[in-house]
Symmetry: C2
DNA sequence: TAATATTATTAGCCGTGGCTAAACTTTATA
DNA sequence: TATAAAGTTTAGCCACGGCTAATAATATTA
């Protein structure tokens, strides 16, 4: 019934948002052809995990959403576990969790959660869904949405692209770090921020991947 | 090229011994039909991992053996890791490792090995093959082969059957435990052994699953 | 040694999850 | 608004790893 491929599709759909997910969009995310994606969407649709309006888009049903969140929970618990025990770098966690997430039994998931004291954030600051899909209510907002002249604290960094993660780390953008937003360049929406008395420029794309809270 | 199924076949063949492995034997071990097994043997044979004489049996090639040992290494490292970190019971380790073993990258394998200080035994006492398949030279012998009136120390217990493991634990047969072999019943080769001043009977089958050293 | 039982292989089927190429919708553009 | 472009689906192929049923080889035993 469930399989690695299906779990990856459900998780990808969850990441891409709640409704009208395009076939191409999903296909690109999973590095698979649109034809394969349509086929899988139909399969998941038959199984009640996905709603599909031909040529219009797809979205997760309640059941599908729950399964997706279960995969996300396993992924983020694993990242947290590997980080804590082995001290793996933030950049290498994601790729490992991406495979292990499909091999975790409910029992082992529970053991790990208990061992970690039921964490609500993973090493990238991402919320870890609870055993029934509950996500704690965080107030994090996108860095790109912050007003100029605000002092902010970094809360979430992306986990998928290790190059981005390395760049962020190298420039002092890590969880808990305070920053001051100096200005925004209107031509490309890039930000100039001050970290530890040094100025760095954060591109618009980058600022849409980082979540913060305003101090 | 590699896959979960293939890794499980190679590992099973390694477990079943070095030569002339029967199709039925392998099929039973993997809970699969003989027809499926023949098919896979042919596939692995084409790929140079297995030698096959039709109707006579199969065995691992050098390359196949190396890959099998790599799976065994991952399996046993995982058992050790989960035991150490999460404190999982010896009975529950195997089934978890059975799935996770296929999702472990070389990097993660190395990290875990380092974290554990390159252990040479897993929680069941089984030798952990090195990164190139080397198995340390242990002197463990089967309990069933021990002479009467010898004092022995338990070195390895089986990992696949949690019921057996629970029985052994319940009767005080655990790693490092000293026992004295009192007698052997000739009619069924069962042993009577003394552990901590109490006598227990160990069946012939059971005594072929436990490795010991003579003190 | 001939019949029988056991073991192994082959043939052919199925579901899964990829792919390409072609057809079809929808959206954008001239 | 007709045409082109972009996005989506369908059709049909493939490898994988299961399965059953039929056949073939080997081992046992009468
Ligand atoms: Mn995955
Ligand atoms: Mn993460
Ligand atoms: Mn396995
Ligand atoms: Mn073991």
């Amino acid at each position: 019934m469930t399989s690695i491929a299906r779990e990856d599709y459900l998780k990808a759909m969850w990441k891409l948002g709640s409704s009208n997910i395009g076939t191409l969009e999903l296909a690109n995310h999973l590095k698979v052809t649109p034809a394969s994606t349509t086929k899988m969407i139909l399969k998941l649709s038959e199984n009640g995990l996905v709603r599909h309006k031909p040529y219009k888009g797809a979205s997760l049903t309640e059941i599908g959403l729950k399964q997706a969140l279960s995969v996300v929970r396993r992924h983020r618990l694993l990242e947290t576990f590997l980080s804590k025990t082995l001290g793996l770098s933030n950049e290498s966690l994601h790729v490992e969790a991406e495979r292990l997430e499909h091999a975790l039994s409910k029992d082992l998931e529970n053991s790990i959660a208990k061992y970690l004291n039921n964490p609500v954030r993973d090493p990238h600051g991402h919320p870890i869904p609870g055993p029934n899909g509950e996500i704690f209510n965080n107030e994090d907002i996108l860095l790109s949405e912050c007003p100029i002249s605000s002092t902010i604290i970094i809360r979430q960094v992306p986990d998928e692209d290790s190059e981005i993660l390395i760049w962020l780390k190298h420039n002092g953008v890590s969880l808990g770090q305070k920053m001051y937003i100096k200005s925004k360049n209107n031509f490309d929406d890039s930000l100039v921020v001050e970290i530890n008395n040094s100025l760095i420029e954060i591109s618009s794309n980058m600022s849409k991947l980082v979540y913060v809270t305003i101090e």
